[in-house]
Symmetry: C2
C-alpha cells in the first residue's frame, strides 16, 4: 500500500470492542488505504487495471496495514492519482460517512440547518464542507480545551456558520436564542454522547432527527419522554460498515469518485497527522495512547 | 354527556404539564366522553344526527366533564349505542393510540412479535388484543407489585404470549433466551421509561424500533451508542393529539367505528373503575391522588 490511516475504529477493532472481528491468528489490521498496482494476474482485463494505477479496497476490507496485498481485481477500485495520497487513503470511511449521513435520514433543502458535535473530527470537517456545498448551514459544537479559539477559526474557514464550545452552551438556558436568523435544525449528528448529545436535541426543531455515529465520551444518550411525545424527535444510528454490507459497492465507488473530485478542486480538505511508514510502529503506539493522549487520526505512508 | 373518563392525561392537563392548555378562566376539563343528542339546531341535517343518538366529540376536544355541551354538528361523531357506554366514552384516546402505534412505525406481518411495558394499562390491554387479532405475538412487561400473578393471568386471557415482571427480567443476563420459539421483536412500545425502556431495547431485534408514548416512571430513556451504531435501533415517539392535528378526522372516525365493532363482538375489552357522575368530585380527588395512590383510569357516568 502507498498509504494507510490509523483510524480510531482500527484501534477499536484491535481492542476487540467492535462487533465484527477479523479471523485470527492471521489477521492484518487496517480497514482502508490506497495502494499502487504492482502486477496483474493473467485473467485481469487491462482496461480495468494497469500497473501504476492507484487503487483502494472497495468495499473496504481488513489488511491495509501491509506493504503488499493480493486480492481479486474486482475488490479494487481505481481512483484518480492527482490528489494527495493521504486523501485517497482516507476517503472511504470518514468522508463517505459524512456524505451518507447528509442524505440518508432527513430530506434537507438549501437553506436548512444541521447541528453536530465533535465538529473538529474528520467526519465533522467533511460535514461542514459538504453541507456548505449543498447550501446547508451548520451549527458546530466543539470540546472545551486549550486552543479552542483556533479550532473555531479553522472550522469557520471551512464554512461553519456557528461554532460553540460545550461549556458555552451549558451556560445558556435557551440554546435556540443562538440561532439568530438560521432556521431551527432538522438534523443533528452526534459522535460524542452524554451532554453533548443532549445539547444537539435542544437545538433540534419539532420532529427533528438525531443520528448517532460515535460515542467519544463513552457516555450513553439520555432523552426525556416529552422529547419523544411532544417534540416528536427521532433517534437513529449510522454505521458505514452496515450500509456497505447492503450491496452498495457500486454506489460507494461513485461517491468516492465524487469526494476525490472535491479534494482535487480544493473543496474538501481535512487535517491529518502524517508519519512515514518506517515509523508506523511509533505512530500506532501513539494512536493507542502509549505516548500521551490519543490523536484523532494518524496516517502512515 | 352520558359518561366521561378521567384519564391520566386529563390530570396532566389540569396540572399544566401538557404543552397544550385550554384557555382560562372558562375552561372545562375532560378530553373524551360519550353523550346523547338532546336537541338539534334548525340547520342540522336529521340524517346526520337525531335526538337520542350516541355521539362522541371527534376529534376529541376539551369540555366533556359537563352535563350539557353545545357544539356544531360536525364536531360530533355518531357511534353505535349497542356497546357499554364506558367503551364509547373511552374509545378515542387509548384504543386509538394502540391501533395507530401498531400500524404507523413498523411494517408488521402475521407471526411477528412486539414487546411492550406498562402492559396492564388500557393501551397495553388494547395492544395485546389488537395484536392477537392481527396474528402478532406480544411480550408484555408489568410492574412488580402485589397481585402481579393475577395481572399476568388476566393479560394471558386477553391473548398475551408472554408476561414478565420487571424484576424477573432484571435478573436475567440475556432476555432473548426468554423468547422461546417467538421471533425477536421488531417493535417495542414504551410508556414507562428508565429501566423498563432499557429492557424493551434488549428484547428488540437488529434494526428494531422503540416507540415511546408515555413516561410513567418519570425517568428518561437511556440508550448506549452501540445500540444505535451496531444494533441500528430507531427511537421514536407517538402522541395521539399530534396525529389528530394532522387532518385525520375522517380516518379516526373510521377507526373508532372499527374499535367499537370489536367491543360489540367481545373482541376488545379493558378494565375501568366506574363511578356515578354524582360522585364525580370524589372520583376526581381519587384520581388526583388525594385518597391514596392514583388509579389508572376512572370513569364517571
Amino acid at each position: 500500500m502507498l498509504a494507510a490511516p490509523i483510524n480510531p475504529s482500527d484501534l477499536n477493532r484491535i481492542e476487540g470492542v467492535y462487533p465484527v472481528r477479523p479471523p485470527l491468528p492471521a489477521a492484518v489490521a487496517g480497514y482502508e488505504g490506497v495502494g499502487q498496482v504492482h502486477a496483474l494476474g493473467p485473467a485481469v482485463d487491462s482496461d480495468y487495471l494497469s500497473p501504476g494505477d492507484w487503487v483502494i479496497p472497495s468495499p473496504p476490507s481488513f489488511g491495509t496495514w501491509q506493504t503488499y496485498v493480493v486480492k481479486p481485481a474486482a475488490a479494487w477500485h481505481r481512483v484518480r492519482s492527482d490528489v494527495p495520497p493521504q486523501y485517497a487513503a482516507t476517503v472511504t470511511v470518514n468522508p463517505l460517512t459524512a456524505l451518507r449521513m447528509l442524505g440518508d435520514f432527513v430530506n434537507l433543502s438549501p437553506g436548512d440547518t444541521l447541528v453536530q458535535n465533535g465538529a473538529t473530527s474528520i467526519v465533522g470537517q467533511c460535514i461542514i464542507q459538504l453541507a456548505k456545498l449543498h447550501g446547508l448551514h451548520t451549527i458546530n459544537i466543539i470540546r472545551d480545551r486549550p486552543g479552542w479559539e483556533e479550532a473555531k477559526d479553522k472550522l469557520k474557514q471551512l464554512g461553519a456558520d456557528e461554532v460553540f464550545t460545550q461549556s458555552q452552551l451549558d451556560s445558556i438556558k435557551n440554546v435556540k436564542s443562538l440561532l439568530g436568523a438560521l432556521p431551527e435544525p432538522a438534523l443533528g449528528l452526534n459522535c460524542v454522547g452524554g451532554n453533548a448529545a443532549s445539547v444537539i436535541m435542544k437545538f433540534l426543531r419539532q420532529s427533528g432527527t438525531m443520528v448517532t455515529y460515535g460515542g467519544m465520551s463513552k457516555k450513553p444518550v439520555t432523552i426525556s419522554t416529552s422529547s419523544f411525545i411532544f417534540k416528536d424527535l427521532s433517534l437513529r444510528g449510522f454505521w458505514l460498515q452496515k450500509w456497505m454490507n447492503s450491496d452498495k459497492a457500486e454506489e460507494s465507488r461513485t461517491m468516492i469518485d465524487y469526494l476525490l473530485s472535491l479534494v482535487h478542486e480544493g473543496k474538501l480538505k481535512y487535517e491529518m497527522e502524517l508519519t512515514p511508514f518506517s515509523d508506523f510502529r511509533l505512530a500506532l503506539d501513539k494512536a493507542l495512547g502509549k505516548h500521551g493522549s490519543r490523536p484523532k487520526q494518524v496516517l502512515s505512508f
